[in-house]
Amino acid sequence: MILKTAWKNVWRNRVRSLVVIASVTVGIFAGVFAVAFMNGMIAQRFDAAIDEEISHIQITGKDYLLNNDPEIYMTPEDGIIPAIKSIPGVEYVVTRTIVTGMASTASKSAGVQIIGINPDREKEIFKLYKTIIPGTGDYFETESKYDLALIGQDLAKELNIIRFAIDSTVLSKLRNKEVPDEITTKLEAFSGKRFSNGKKFISTVTSVLTSHELRQYGQLIREEAWSYRENSRMILTFLDRENNQVSSVFRIAGIYDIKNAIFEQSQVFLRNEVLSRLTGIDESSFHKVIIRINDLGESENITNEIRKKFPGLDVKNWKELQPDLAMMTDYVHQIYGFFMVIILAALAFGIINTMLMAVLERTKELGMLTAIGMNKKKVFSMIMLESVFLSITGGITGMIAGWGTILLTAKKGINFAQYAEGMEAIGYSAHIFPEISASFFIMVVILIFLTGIASSVYPALKALKLDPAEAIRTE
């Protein structure tokens, strides 16, 4: 009966209760969706880092990472690869040869790290081969009389290999993709103009389109407007083993895009035998070993095991290689919990206010209930239940709204094309896919329940202090 009475009491003042429930709904929806959004961003960053940049564990010679000295390398005689492959939990192992150099075209040059890889083996660990921009080539599949190099999109832009241009072909493609005429008409003003980098292009497009138009079509316009001249070439210059300067022409095998500007600007990939030939470093020698494991939770154990086997080498797992990422993944749940606690604390004040009004309005009734025999425990329980019902009702509707929005956006993602350049500069994709775990929902339910209980304490104590004889006399 207390449960039934408490539930009915919630709807005694329907408007007031609906306002409180609506505020809890909005607060929970905002919190849940914000967390899903942040989760999606971090998950994508994590996946990109592991699958495209660093993998799980890396091994280099002692002090190699201090100045990337090419003379600090490992050889098959060290017995490293077989020993690592024998460790349970190790899935794949690849080696890389690395030198530092300069990439140049006729107009520009840039400092780069030149990495010699075995392309087929690399596919076992990294998904770089899936990130080749269509129309720019492939992953070392097409042969050429020149040696091949794979470069990042941002390096290609830096070297003016990629440019942005709006011409009749681009406008036609946009019209075919149902971009409204009012937009293509505005873009016609720049027909024939070439932009040396994306920033200038976006700035110009932003100046003529509305924010709504940019949100709807910005990404599509950017994708269609950039141009790449096939079979472009560049020169790589570096030092060989004898400290002699070596320059060689490379054809761009393909341009990769992993949504990480810093990585794309600096990392150039060649076939290992090519780098070996040009530097004089033995093809079987390597500067770095990269390891992919089965179970992420075992990365520290496996790292320690490798360190024990090879104390003379520098062994680092993904947390040590990218401590900022480690910090985010390690503390993200605490951050989310803290975030939700703040939201719920704010909502709690609204519930306390409502419950206080409800108690003060019912002074006479509460006095009567005590008079006829409702003890303090039951009075407290009734007030507490009313508070919990308010918070749970709003919480559930908020979670349903949040979950529904996450479902809708998880498949297609949310595109922040207008911020793509800035986000990719710090390693984040501009296309976010929100995601949330069941454990987070459970945590939110518990927090909402606790908020309801906590919000009821003060109003319930107020109710308990009523003198029944005086309360009944209240007008």
Partner: protein, 228 residues
Amino acid sequence: MKVLELNNVNKIYDGSEVHVHAVNDVSLDFLEAEFAAIVGPSGSGKTTLLNLIGGLDMPTSGKIFIDGTDLSLLKSSQLIDFRMRNIGFVFQAYNLIPVLTARENVEFIMSLQKWSKKDREERTFELLKAVGLADRADSRPAKLSGGQQQRIAVARALASRPKFVLADEPTANLDSKSATTLLEIMEELNHEEKITFIFSTHDPRVVKMAHRVITLEDGSVVSDDIRE
């Protein structure tokens, strides 16, 4: 059999500016199935006396025994429980729970006492029939007239078969027809259930129906007439 005993009960309100001797050395006994009215002018101490009898207030001195239990020996939580099991209340302003139906209001006390569903339903039906409102069982108080609400309040007060029912000016807010109907029902229930009714009232109709009339003046009992 005595259901209620007051021995030299005094209640003094000692404020900073006012000293009020609201109940002055009152000694009364009430037997089972009595139908008694406490009358007196405003300020004579009727409501204070009723509050003391009902355990809603504690006497400054003297003892109150309900069915042999000394109320002064009960802790606050025990007193609430004791009230629930032994005393029924009918208030001037009905004081039904507005969100519950007539049936649920009557069942409320029984559910607090953890009666089984079957027993609750049986007793509720019996009482609603006795007060003539079995057909309005599912109506909320807002849909009932004043007289009907007060009848539901009487049914609620009797639900758990208390030792006695305290009714503080139960007819004050009713029209004459409703008041008469209510009193007739209460008299009939008093006769059938053998439960003592103690009224605090100004209403001459209540006084006329009462089997015993206790007159209070300035907190003291000035007369105690038992009628055949």
